[in-house]
């Protein structure tokens, strides 16, 4: 049994042939004309899918379903992309359009973060867990949540917005303009602000000097902490507590087997994930009566979206 997984992004769309055990057998990508009419965009996506079938030598009759991950607000049950920031989708009935263009019966769609969570949970870092939370630390904070092997989407697929949980009443302003949200403390963007503030406050620190020379990105504080700078270590420790606070909230609500950290910062590996594991284990409610919730870095990276999109049809 084979499936197509399609991962739509603001710059390009990726498509792969995925087997029932989550193996990515073949993949290809094409640029996306994000500003065109949605009918044109979807035609391009269908053309890429046909292309992938041809290039991989897969007969369409072998395909049991086509799954699509798309950024933005997606109504899974209706098969509609209601709104996407960077792509010209507005109430686009992508499922029906793809069914008709590809002449296939089973097409499903979900938010791209959801698809990544499903892929990572079933076939990546989650190692087949039944319950997991994927927290992606990037420009913002995205979450994808799996409960009893199924994506949690909420009414009208409007849930799983874990970047906008309240962790610090009246605190830092979030991208959504409200205050005290997780994203305002735990995103890569927030980390960069925190590092910049620390540099301004401690201009003589190694961190400040390094930042002046190399600029600040998500790696800066890790590099300087490893070089033994106390300001960097403190800043990193505080960031870990911010990230941890949200993870504990998810842990206490879902008590999943695993929490998966995605996004560029997760590339820091053990130096980031290990202290987070410690924080969660020390702070989760009922730790003494229950198995430890594992905190791990995502492993499928860029393929999680394709594999997870295909898994919508499993």
């Amino acid at each position: 049994m084979k499936y197509l997984g399609i991962d739509i992004g603001g710059m390009s769309v990726k498509c792969g042939v995925v087997s029932r055990d989550g193996s990515l057998l073949f993949k290809d990508a094409a640029p996306i004309r994000a500003g065109e009419a949605d009918t044109e965009i979807v035609k391009d996506i269908a053309a890429l899918a046909e292309d992938v079938l041809r290039k991989s030598g897969t007969d369409k009759s072998e395909i049991c379903g086509v799954g699509i991950g798309c950024p933005g607000s997606v109504h899974d049950e209706k098969g509609v992309v209601r709104y996407s920031c960077n792509i010209n989708f507005r109430n686009t009935p992508i499922v029906d359009m793809m069914k008709s263009l590809l002449n296939v019966e089973v097409v499903k769609v979900s938010n791209d973060a959801n698809c990544a969570a499903l892929g990572e949970t079933l076939f990546g870092a989650g190692n087949g867990a039944e319950n997991s939370v994927l927290v992606t630390l990037g420009t913002g904070v995205g979450t994808g949540i799996v409960v009893d092997g199924k994506l949690l989407t909420g009414n009208c697929s409007a849930g799983a917005e874990g970047g906008h949980i309240q962790i610090n009443i009246g605190g830092a302003t979030c991208g959504c303009k409200k205050r005290g949200h997780y994203e305002a403390y735990a995103s890569a963007t927030a980390l960069i602000s925190q590092v910049s503030e620390a540099c301004a406050k401690h201009p003589d620190s190694l961190l400040a000097k390094y930042a002046l020379e190399h600029g600040v990105d998500g790696k800066t504080v890790f590099t300087c902490a490893q070089m033994g700078d106390a300001v960097a270590s403190e800043t990193l420790q505080r960031y870990i507590e911010y990230v941890g606070a949200g993870l504990v909230t998810f842990a206490n609500i879902f008590f999943p087997e695993v929490i998966i950290i995605g996004g560029g910062i997760s590339n820091q590996g053990e130096s980031f994930v290990k202290p987070l594991q410690k924080y969660v284990s020390e702070n989760v409610y009922g730790a003494e009566y229950n198995p430890e919730i594992k905190v791990v870095a995502a492993t499928l990276r860029n393929d999680a979206g394709i594999i997870g999109a295909a898994a919508l049809c499993f």
Copy 2:
């Protein structure tokens, strides 16, 4: 089709005959000998169940299942009460014990707050919603969460501990000893502390004088706010924002159709629920694209636990 619902409490156990449409046909209660051996406690519970069948004229063959709600840490799948604060249950295999004592095939158990959530969602204030969060504001803060018509329990049934989400990093100390948890701000206990602090700060306020005369309970601040006292109004407004902060977190994660407020404070009705509704509607993420999440007071009161316990078997 009829079911038995059993709601175990620290002082007494209640048992009722419940029909498939959630009607409570008959109920009775018995004291619980909470400190005895668990075998004795369970025998008493079984005796009450037999009693209820007899008194209600129900033949055991009519009963399709027996559901049990129990306070403490319950492992639903194993049918075991791992630990209960006020009742002498320690790894008590209550499901197997009741099956054997009552000679029935279907017995299920869950945490009592979960059962109340299921009852309220299906047959009470939730009005049959598929997704809901019941937040009970009492000595602590309990939550019961329904996702796609099923209770969210988490791995080993250790989840749904919504009283221990982080809402204010480094803030007030919770009953579990950690800081900044929802329970430390939103429980009735927390409200009483907040009122007492306000009284100490503003000894000339009507609130302080009223408190001195009548003592402080969960109603004090509502009464004095209605009497026009500014200190009471401010204190209440801040409490509503605390409660609201947690509700918005649940809303952003679950996007349920309904959030149900339980516990003594929910008796305040509209003067409490209406401002909470406003807070949630103004602060939930994606409000402009989605139906409003309703915030309502629980309606089944003391029967929610019995009806919800029975509903475990539906």
